[in-house]
Symmetry: C2
Subunit: 407 residues, 2 copies
């Protein structure tokens, strides 16, 4: 008897997490010789536990699935539910009873580190009870911080959004070019500076804005920063500086913590706010020039206006490849991207042990960070440029982007 497929999404949204959902669902629906039903879990593993699932077939029939492909955010809804470390916890048999109830043979989870932790735990539990359900992770994160993959779906579109927005902010900053000014752009990234590094792509020539770029990978020193800003202002009067939200002193103190109290989310991550605002006030006080800070905020992960065609295609492909890998017998794996060496960009899909991936963080190589921690080198540009190529047309309705919504 044919088994059913279930797919879920978890963690923060990206511009292409639904493209991967499209990839899983459309590929699984194509393989009706191998699968019976294709379900989506609503609000991730947490919703699934409460029996919130939906049949995905009608979406294909109504044409809605095509719209899902270019809808940002998590169509199925997300959760930040962390499975217990203890595999003897009662939640595991409860989940596997649900799997049995719904005839699930194949489980796909689209997400970042924490979601891969879910895939890891479920596949290990399955192994322990000799279940033959196959568990596959499909990567997703604008942070690009997953190990054992060249990059992650979601990063390319976020990088394109960041780079083009920084280019536009630099245009905006330069209109009064007879007066010195500093614009500080704060970009997402707690521990990994990939997305902030992508701001370098906005630069059109050596010495162009953004002149200074700071990542969390290197220790941030306020005095060095002030002197670097001062020097840069001599050459570029309308200076644009890009910083990661997670810049820190290298000893565990975030710059934003200098300004305000912080909370902790339920994965134990510090919740950050205000590095840009803090530095805005610092520059104003120390250098007396016009300063403003801009937090790119959630738009960098949810905007559909700067989808990278390369990223979008790979996100769909990762989902489809996940289905193929599961059919080929893989379980406890995350789909990964391998870059093929050569003059032109080529990538192939693979499947890596999810246990080696979850709860790890891949940061920007230190030798890609240049000029005393204030700039990004050519190695990163060569790495990132292929990932932002091409654009994707998002359908419009009455002058605004048309998205798919769960009924």
């Amino acid at each position: 008897m044919k088994k059913n497929v279930i797919v879920g999404q978890s963690g923060g949204p990206t511009a292409v997490i639904n493209a991967s959902l499209y990839g899983v669902v459309s590929e699984a629906l194509k393989r009706s010789d191998s699968f019976d039903k294709v379900y989506g879990m609503v609000n991730g593993i947490e919703g699934f536990l409460n029996g919130h699932i939906m049949d995905m077939k009608p979406l294909e029939e109504s044409g809605e699935l095509e719209l899902v492909k270019t809808t940002p955010g998590s169509y199925l809804g997300s959760c930040r539910y962390k499975l217990p470390e203890d595999l003897n916890d009662e939640v595991y048999p409860a989940l596997f009873r649900r799997f049995e109830e719904y005839g699930i043979g194949y489980f796909f989870y689209i997400g970042g580190n924490d979601s891969m932790d879910t895939v890891s735990k479920l596949s290990r539990y399955a192994e322990g009870i000799q279940s033959d359900i196959r568990f596959i992770g499909v990567p997703k994160t604008i942070d690009n911080d997953l190990v054992l993959t060249d990059h992650t779906p979601g990063f390319g579109s976020a990088a394109k959004y960041v780079a083009s927005t920084v280019r536009e902010v630099a245009v905006d900053a330069s209109v009064y070019d007879n007066k010195k000014s500093v614009t500080i752009v704060e970009i997402m990234g707690r521990h990994a500076g990939w997305l902030t590094a992508a701001s370098v792509l906005a630069r059109k020539f050596e010495g162009d804005n953004p002149v200074l770029i700071y990542l969390p990978e290197t220790a941030f020193d306020q005095e060095t920063f002030i002197s670097q800003v001062q020097d840069a202002l001599e050459k570029v009067p309308n200076l644009v500086v890009c910083i990661s939200e997670g810049i820190n002193d290298g000893k565990g103190t975030f710059v934003c913590e200098l300004a305000s109290d912080v909370g902790v989310d339920n994965f134990g991550h510090k919740m950050l706010t205000g590095s840009g605002k803090y530095l805005e006030n610092l520059v104003k006080a120390r250098l007396g020039v016009k300063v403003r800070s801009i937090e790119l905020n959630v738009c960098q992960r949810c905007s559909s206006s700067m989808l990278s065609a390369a990223d979008h295609q790979e996100a769909i492909g990762a989902g489809a490849y996940g289905v193929q890998a599961a059919l080929a017998g893989e379980t406890g794996k995350m789909i990964s991207f391998k870059r093929i060496e050569g003059d032109t960009y080529k990538m192939e899909y693979a499947a890596e042990d999810v246990n080696q991936i979850c709860n790890q963080e891949k940061t920007v190589p230190l030798d890609w960070i240049t000029n005393n921690g204030s700039d990004i080198g050519q190695a990163f540009i060569d790495y990132a440029l292929p990932l932002v190529q091409g654009s994707v047309e998002v359908p419009e309705e009455n002058g605004l982007p048309k998205f798919a919504y769960r009924k």
Copy 2:
């Protein structure tokens, strides 16, 4: 002997101020029977006073002018230089000596209220000295606050950016739909709420996000606000609230002033910051739900990613019509938009007395603001929807938007 044309840009940038520049320049270059040279003033009237001008013809020859058409910000650079009220000030003869030096017969200034003030003063001074130079204002402002015109170029694209971004923020906010949350989006607009009102276009059905919208036109009361948020959360757990930066208590105190000190710019405008942040903290303290605030910031005026085709075409047309009006003998006028009554949107250009426009502000009609100051009615939707229609393709180079830059 044929006279020369000069065109300048002033005030804050918009997504289409360069489209109007394109309109003036391309139309003037076409009329070589009427005009000799076409100059641009670099950094507005202030740069012109210092002799900073450029010949625009080579831009057309090199094809750069086509790129100017979709470049956000002010290609020629801007200024915030206010001409003295006293027409006997020595700056006026200095400026007219410059006009004579460059053989200027036609002066075009693209900008908002303050720029129309410049056109008004120059045309009045010209009348006083019996100069035959013609002075024409071409409107530009995302604020849409100029009187005697149905709307202003720049508003449509900014409105489209705001509405689509708010729609995406609402998608982002809804992924954890099992937990109550409030997202406050702060939108530009000191005294006129047009752009904030445009957030209503993001709504797909009655009761959809953004559920609450607050403009500076009506008095903002914190207690009413808290109770409206509380009520709305009962129906929409992931609530999106849009506010103008300039919301105030109706007695002259801005909400942001409750939180922080403010400065004054050199036009005597209060410089605002932080209404959204203030309300974020208020909601957190009073309702104890998850809250975040997002400041759309400069992206709403400088993004090229959501150009409205309708706005873009009208911005070009306003520039071209300005040239035609000057040729027809007009001076001391601003180009205006007249909407033709009817079932489908139709607009025609006109020229209005600039003295009746400068230093005035057109705010949102109070009867377009509904639900006790917390919502926007159908009259506004009918007004704004035609202005955001259609999209414009911006050329890409290496995966990022390609813009024109002054050499």
